[in-house]
Subunit: 154 residues, 2 copies
């Protein structure tokens, strides 16, 4: 297991916490100097807050921990490709590198629907790697939605 | 003064609060059923939080007030064209209409740098109107940055 997979496994642990709470299972960790400084998982239904995606929660915690809105030496690991809000928050935070697991064909805004990190006018352009532990990240989401559909049928 | 200008004047009041606190002067209000249900102004430096844009703060307050992440019958007024994070949060919140004042040539993601509300794959496409009280919104920002530069010189 390489370093990227090691941290993604930690993000997957967060996604599983969301799953247990009946939230769409997406998890995130932020790493600085080879340590996790913030964790987050999707809490949209629990909090009834549209912002409460895994990445947003982790970014808020990281800013609080470092007492700065600039997360320049931080790397973010998330199980699903970020949506436009989260990709935008990553740009606003000046996060250095983004590693994600599964692609999101309906909202992914790093590579799939649009490439927000490549827009020239923006003042920060994070690097990114897709497909880290992709199968495991995607399977968690598939199982979640399959169970949801079965529950709705019964 | 038409209705759009009436609500934008309220957003400008919020922007002025940011100005008084030495924050980049951007303000926002969210309107439902012809009433303001949430107000917000930029607090990025004060809170040292990258998410703390005027729109994000107003959206959080509106979700809390209505106890739902779905702001489907809400309209958002903001003095500056939303950045990708805020435009993304508007999409995530299912906000109906967006009215903004000044254009943002470095980060505006509704019309200027990119048109996030028009991306087909996303599941919501807010309507928008630009240029409401544009001069007043832009002037506030110009004065703020001019004073900042003068302070730095002295």
């Amino acid at each position: 297991m390489n370093t990227q997979e090691k941290w993604m496994k930690e993000a997957i642990k967060q996604a599983k916490k969301a799953y247990e709470k009946d939230e769409v299972p997406i998890g995130c960790v932020i790493v600085k100097d080879n340590k996790i400084i913030a964790r987050g998982y999707n809490k949209r239904e629990m909090l009834q807050q549209s912002y409460a995606h895994a990445e947003m929660i982790a970014i808020q915690k990281a800013c609080k921990k470092l007492n700065t809105w600039r997360l320049e030496e931080c790397d973010l690991y998330v199980t699903l490709e970020p949506c436009p809000m989260c990709a935008g928050a990553i740009i606003q935070s000046r996060i250095r590198n983004v590693y994600y697991g599964a692609s999101d064909f309906k909202g992914g805004s790093v590579k799939t629907c649009i490439q927000l990190f490549d827009i020239k006018q923006y003042n920060h352009h994070p690097s990114y790697v897709s497909g880290i532990c992709e199968q495991e990240c995607a399977q968690l989401l598939k199982t979640f939605f399959k169970n949801k559909r079965n529950k709705n049928k019964s």
